[in-house]
Amino acid sequence: MTPDDRRIAMRLEAMLIVADEPMSVVNLATAVGTPVPAVRVALQALRADYDGEADGPRRGFELREVGGGWRVYVREELDGVVTEFVGSQAPARLSQAALETLAVIAYKQPVTRSQVAQIRAVNVDSVVRTLLGRGLITEMHSDPETGAMHYGTTSLLLQKLGIDSVDELPPISPLLDDGADGFEGIDGVDAL
């Protein structure tokens, strides 16, 4: 492998490690500033490398061409390790913090993480991840200006609560003097 090949491989690795969906060869070529055919060759070489077919060892991850793009995945034979760990980490019940965050999102949706954090006066990043993972909330749209993601609740939550729509959420009492201005747009609350 020439130093130039190695340079391309490193750049590809940098791109592939942050990509959260398969990246097309064309996109990768643009990103690393290398013609498409060379990128194609380099990707094949990386895949063989990770599979232990070059000089190095076989990796715990692999490079797969899926749906017209390339992406790093956990090597299939190791899926069990990940599944088991994820299962052991997920609590069967939601924590109080998770429930409160869920409640804020339910009543204020669509709402960004930082807006929730402001109301709760704590950082809610990991809780939001848990709720996403549990399918109780979902990403709705990102703000065109700031790019901040807005979250809302799912039909799974409605199902758990036994209601058909968020309109059926009970109105909450306006004990919030200054918090009240945060409720514009929520029917039911305005009505109070």
Binding site: P170, I172, L175, D178
Partner: protein, 272 residues
């Protein structure tokens, strides 16, 4: 530019200079010299620094960037603390033991240097955060298939429970503070207290602060008497004598001319 240069450059702009018997230059340089032990802290006259500081504050226009003057807030707060500590030996703003341990001058400089150390290291924080923000980490959502064996979520919250949780979550989470509203401090007139002080001083010529404060009805009155003495000092009507830090403070009447007109304008700064 190093942290040091940046800090001093900024303060130089601020322009607080002191002129002492053994030092003449920017206050920041004075601190630098003390830090590097090129100037003995015990050779710095605290009262001179205080005078210069008050003069500096008086010249500060309203448009001055207070953020840059934050170091001087530390000076001001410390000077005030020392006054309070002298006024109320068991003062709460300063740990009485700390005051006893450190001479007043040491306290001022130790605090300044402490503040400064944190200010300097905050530059490191800013640099690191900027640098780290530029880094990219692998942050990819977990594939659905890995969640397959996740234990089923046990949902035990009823609709009403959920609303109750929402109410709780929306309740303003004020950072708890100790309210001072219940302290209905009666208004104390500095002018009235000054009149009492002036009358006592003109009668005796020289009185200790302890005597002046004796019989005062509550801390507010003592504070007002103390402030009135500072005001009288500004009018060059009194002088002080204190043989040792936190020792007995003797107030002496030195006014050549004094009229009740002076008294009428005294403490006008405190009028609201």
């Amino acid at each position: 530019m190093s942290t040091d240069e940046r800090a001093s450059g900024e303060i130089d702009e601020g322009g607080f200079r002191v002129s002492l018997s053994n030092f003449d230059g920017p206050f920041d340089l004075l601190l630098n010299l003390i830090t590097k032990r090129e100037l003995d802290i015990t050779e710095v006259s605290l009262s001179a620094v205080t005078d210069e500081f008050i003069a500096y504050l008086a010249d500060l226009g309203p448009d001055e960037n207070l953020d840059e003057a934050s170091e001087f807030l530390v000076v001001a707060a410390t000077l005030l603390d020392m006054k309070v500590a002298g006024l109320l030996p068991q003062g709460e703003l300063v740990d009485a033991e700390a005051v006893a341990l450190l001479e007043a001058r040491d306290l001022l400089f130790a605090r300044l240097l402490q503040y400064r150390a944190f200010k300097e290291v905050s530059v490191w924080f800013a640099d690191r955060i900027t640098r780290e923000d530029a880094r990219h980490t692998r942050d990819v959502p977990l594939d659905e298939r890995y969640r397959a064996r996740t234990p089923e979520l046990q949902w035990t919250v009823s609709l009403d429970d959920f609303a109750a949780i929402a109410t709780l979550a929306f309740a303003p989470r004020e950072i708890p503070t100790v309210g001072l509203d219940h302290l209905h401090a009666p208004q104390v007139s500095i002018r009235e207290q000054a009149a009492i002080v002036v009358s006592a001083l003109r009668t005796s010529g020289s009185v200790t602060f302890r005597e002046l404060a004796a019989g005062a009805d509550g801390p507010g009155v003592i504070v007002a008497r103390f402030i009135s003495i500072l005001e009288l000092y500004r009018h060059a009507a009194v002088s002080f004598e204190q043989l040792e830090p936190l020792g007995e403070l003797t107030v002496r009447w030195v006014a050549d001319t004094w009229s009740d007109e002076n008294l009428a304008t005294l403490g006008a700064d405190y009028d609201t």
